[in-house]
Symmetry: C2
Subunit: 175 residues, 2 copies
Amino acid sequence: MADGKQSSGNNPPAKLVIQQCLSARLQVQPPSDDVEAEYVEIERGVVLYVCFLKGADQDIHVVEKMAKFALNIRLSEALTDSKLVSILDLPGDVLIVPQATLGGKAKGKMMQYHANIPKDTGRELYQKFVELCRDTLASNARTSEANCKVRSGTYGNRQVLSLVTNGPFTHTMEF
Amino acid sequence: MADGKQSSGNNPPAKLVIQQCLSARLQVQPPSDDVEAEYVEIERGVVLYVCFLKGADQDIHVVEKMAKFALNIRLSEALTDSKLVSILDLPGDVLIVPQATLGGKAKGKMMQYHANIPKDTGRELYQKFVELCRDTLASNARTSEANCKVRSGTYGNRQVLSLVTNGPFTHTMEF
């Protein structure tokens, strides 16, 4: 079969997929015998799927660059007109989903994930990314006045996600 | 602000994002004064977001390569065990969403879509992609016996999408 090429050859250290949503719900704790599943939810905003690859820990700016980009890029339809605004200006919620599969490269009919960062390092970078987004929304006048939320998935867990969109307007980025 | 880099520099003619789903619903006709909105739905399967860029019409194989890849890559969890199988082997449904935003490149705080193919040419390639997927599922023993569906969005329309997943397992590919 034909191989799908994977993005650039020079191994970007981080990948991001952005989808706009009207609401989204992510399971952060699977159900067990004793307890029910736990979920986090957001309303109008963006879902950010993030993946760190080998080398992401060598560039201290990669996490900052990605968070700054994701929160400032103008992809959200303003509530009052059709102008595109950032999630900070909307203002809207943010759901951050760890998504290791973004690091996949096709080999024949299988995907391989050899470029992905070791799990512990990836978890640290992921937590830093989540904290940066939280801090930014908390210190931004519009998002903090509107009580906008940052919610995030559990690194390494299965991501049981439900999404309602008015156009996911999917964008893929590398950093 | 920091610019997000966009994939490879040598302008791939087509982009694909794959997400696994338990069910998905796409509005194919917006509501008007006279009629209600129309939707297409799938059950367990994959959502394929596709985007054609300039030059995609110069390579007669790009649509075939992308369809063959999307239907044969082993990304779906088998129903009987945790083995990964193709959507044809699952067997499962396919929802194809035209997603021109995948062609976006960041310039400052805005995304630009200069690399996207002209709309009429893009629509032709999109329809060819949908037909290829339909033909493949219809001629495959497992998907045809299980009455698996190919559903697709309307090229150029807003994509009002709802998605329920057990892990979207997002993969991004270029062709």
